[in-house]
Amino acid sequence: MAECHPVGFQWVMEAKNRGAKIIHVDPRFTRTSALAHEHVGLRAGSDIAFLGGLINYVLSNGKEFRDYVVAYTNAGAILREDFADTEDLDGLFSGFNPETGEYDVESWAYEGGSDETLEHPRCVFQVLKRHYARYTPEVVADICGVSPEQFLDVAEAITANSGRRRTTAWVYSVGWTHHTVGVQYIRAASILQLLLGNIGRPGGGILALRGHASIQGSTDIPTLFNILPGYIPMPHAHQHLDLDMFVGLDAGKTGFWGNMRSYVVSLLKAWWGEHATAENDFRFDHLPRLTGDHGTYQTVYNQLSGKCKGYFLAGENPAVGSANGKLQRLGMANLDWLVVRDMQLIESATFWQDGPEIATGELASEEIGTEVFFLPAASHVEKDGSFTNTQRLLQWHHKAVEPPGDARSELWFYYHLGRLIRDKLRDSTDPRDVPLRELTWSYPTHGPTDEPDAESVLAEINGSGPDGPLATFTALADDGSTSCGCWIYCGVYADGHNHAADRVPGAKQDWVASRWAWAWPSNRRILYNRASADPDGNPWSERKRYVWWDAEKGTWISPDVPDFEATKPPDYTPPAGARAQDALSGSDPFIMQADGKAWLFAPAGLTDGPLPTHYEPHESPVDNPLYTQQANPARQTFGGEHNRYNPVANEIYPYVFTTYRLTEHHTAGGMSRGLPYLSELQPEFFCEVSPQLAEETGLEHGGWATIISARTAIEARVLVTERIKPLRVRGRTIHQVGLPYHWGSNGLSTGDSANDLLSVVLDPNVHIQEAKAATCDIRPGRRPRGAALPELVREYQRRAGVEGSEA
């Protein structure tokens, strides 16, 4: 956190100063570790074993916050008899189809009924206990390389610091998500936090620290294939799919997703305006349909096969930032056209001229047919707009100056591109052009460049009804009388006022600071904060008072906005036939869930299991001690000449490597490697190794190393450091190599790209790559140049027996 979010870390230092214990769990000893009380250096890719160990410690020692767990989680829910756990099936849950590599999730559903004593052998709590029983401190040590003493130290610290009077917070970043079991990492933390009663309460929670200014916003209003604004799923292709069926398929009947029809209809009204009517299903058929994974890695394979011909890059540098950069560059070299919008000439814009494959002779500029447009982008000070930060806060940034030369905002680019395309198709009679021609695409423009008015777009996102801008999402209707571009952002423009631009100084507010910017939904700063009070509506303790029921006034009180219906009393019981939020009781804080409960066990929504379980990374130096099933059985693998995998426990690729960031640079480097003041602070690519590994392989501090995987070989300067320690895992010494991934050939600070070493192998839920744990070899000296480089890679493949393999 100190490494990648230094200013956020000031609050950790504040907490430390007030007596909080800071524990840093990370394969790497970072600037965060340096200021923590304790650094737990575990093996990359072993966190579920560590978290599972903590869950087991809680459950086997009765350390759970019992009242919270019984009232607010699904601990009591009874599971079906045909549900089988990984403990029964040697690493598989019931329903796995080995032919498709997918699960049939039916047996994971609730049977019905709940046991508040949590004693029923098939209730979630008992299943959980059995599932994690083998995650003992010794097993944790065997898998993670963390001593039982240190593990117990952490376990005691977090349990002692949780309960009615205390809360513990977990903070994570992509170190937890970049795995073939990435979603299950987060689930494991959720289970632990729920058992300890640390969700929905001040000082608790699980905070994702995200790396880009509006990566949260670009998920809420998604430039993502699988969702529409506000986490409404994109429709999949089905026979006779219409709006009713779509809403029926995807919406819970109870909880706030029960209103999904209102959210969808309001979105369709925002996009197709007067053309969207009840008679034509509000133009639901204007939405394109999905047929599976259309994620960024699938896109690359579509580029390689020639299916995908045109590509826009807007502030992204996949040639450096994505796994297996070579695959990315080969994909881009096979396009008809590529549009790159950035502030600097990033590697993804110049791969045809000076990419690594040009140097090896695998590509030649004269043979690459891709037409490339580089369009300079405006910076954040040259445009109005809002970022959504990692705490769901929409913050408006005001334009300070005009962008230079041809530089323009994305707002300008996409508005005018849409305008031009619509102009060109104005007289089209082709039915496929109707969604474009009927699109609401009229925004006021101003200034010398005809910049669209960002606030008018925000107003459309907020939504409006017959009486103007809407104040909150509960005002949305399903009859076409309201429009709203993103239902969870509804209220950011309440009363026609831009609340993202609210800036009452922090020093002039209480500690919640509700009048600084605007948080979705409805300016609620802590999600599910009803859980900070007990079922009767009283704070769990005075010390952790946050939201409570005032019976006299008949309302919930909080320095925050309660994440609950303001006047629904704690003793509210849903009448028969109630739907949506009315079907949840006054003591169900998890209002987006159909049952109002937080899920220790996930009966639906996941593709690879209802409970997190330890699987080894796809590329691992060791076997899985828990099951014959080595890795996530549902993980997504890709084949091909340029994406071969290192075999498990293979002596040719004996070391673990992990990728990460440095304070001085930003992700793929487009915003840092061209800046002199940042470049000089970390002027080139380096790897970090332990003195023991250096001795074993002959690496010299300050010298060069060549690092090899089945994808490629890269070179890096060597930092030998005591901060990296060999670990004892499965009775062996495991060495880890640390690789910051910021570099490429362009800019002032240059070097090979660590991500070129990675393969494309994905988490099956969200299609994210396993970038944080893989295997490699490392040896002294610089890598070969020219054609000798791919030859070295092939030589390794031959020795490992993967040359010519397709998977």
Partner: protein
């Protein structure tokens, strides 16, 4: 201060750098350069990976007015086991008994010009380019400096340096332009964890003592102050530090002494001669301008 001759003399201002909360982010280095428009290398040849942990700045100098040092230390495992964690006050690496029994701690510290009470650079400057401001800070005036370089060897800390392609000497000004307008120096303003604190030196010294005492009470007995002593070889510094190890570990001289202890008297003796020079200069200019 009375000796500096300001009608509107201000309280002495300075920095207290508390290295026990430094996260080594180098925001201070960048914020300083952005504010003071310190020249940046325009091609990669001017940038080197130094291999000094995460430090690629190396030293204070004409183009580095703040420098964050990174010190990786092996510490005995006995200092990092559970019961002693708090005593170390700094972090530890896990599972040490697995492979070897050593732990690690990583010290970081942002160094800067000390703005000495008795500043040798100032004493030796023949042109008056270096001067003591109304805030009792020591500043080089680029419009006066002729690049003679006398100040460079005079500094007991090796802070001030001549800029190669420019010839003049440069160093931290404690953001003289900013503090004159009541603003914090750029480094202190940026510092994410408030490791760099700016304020009246008298108040900062008190705060530093309290911080040291608090750390001692928490068992961090190695916490010590550096540069806070008015009786040291430079008369105490306007920029002083809380360190977690010996000053040498951070590259700081353990016992700095002003190199010009006797200079003020010498300058006074030279005064009469200077008056004569002044008269001569006036005469020559009067002739030239005719």
């Amino acid at each position: 201060m009375s000796e500096s001759g300001y009608a509107d003399a201000q309280p002495r201002m300075g920095f207290f750098t508390d290295t026990s909360v430094c996260i080594g982010c180098k925001a201070c280095e960048v914020a300083c350069k952005e504010w003071n428009a310190v020249p940046a290398p325009d091609d990669p040849s001017g940038m080197d990976l130094l291999g000094l942990s995460y430090d690629n700045t190396g030293d204070l100098g004409a183009n580095n007015w703040r420098h964050v040092a990174f010190i990786e230390q092996q510490v005995p495992a006995s200092r990092v086991n559970k019961s002693d964690v708090d005593n170390l006050g700094m972090p530890t690496i896990g599972a040490p008994e697995q492979e070897d029994d050593t732990g690690v701690r990583w010290l970081m510290s942002s160094d800067v010009c000390k703005h000495c009470t008795h500043a040798a650079c100032l004493d030796v400057c023949p042109t008056g380019a270096l001067f003591r401001t109304e805030f009792d800070t020591v500043v080089v005036q680029p419009d006066i400096c002729n690049g003679c370089g006398y100040c460079v060897p005079a500094c007991p800390y090796g802070v001030i340096e001549k800029r190669e392609d420019d010839g003049r000497a440069f160093k931290c000004t404690l953001c003289y332009d900013r503090i004159g307008d009541g603003l914090e120096p750029a480094c202190a303003k940026a510092c994410p964890t408030d490791s760099i604190q700016y304020g009246e030196v008298s108040e900062l010294r008190q705060r530093a003592v309290e911080r040291k005492q608090a750390l001692h009470a928490d068992g961090v007995t190695e916490a010590r102050l550096y540069g806070d002593d008015p009786d040291d070889g430079v008369g105490g510094t306007g920029a002083f530090f809380l360190l977690l190890d010996e000053p040498e570990v951070y590259g700081l001289p353990p016992d700095p002494v002003v190199t010009t202890r006797d200079l003020p008297a010498m300058w006074r003796r030279a005064g009469a001669a200077a008056l004569g020079v002044a008269a001569a200069v006036v005469a020559s200019f009067a002739g030239a301008r005719r």
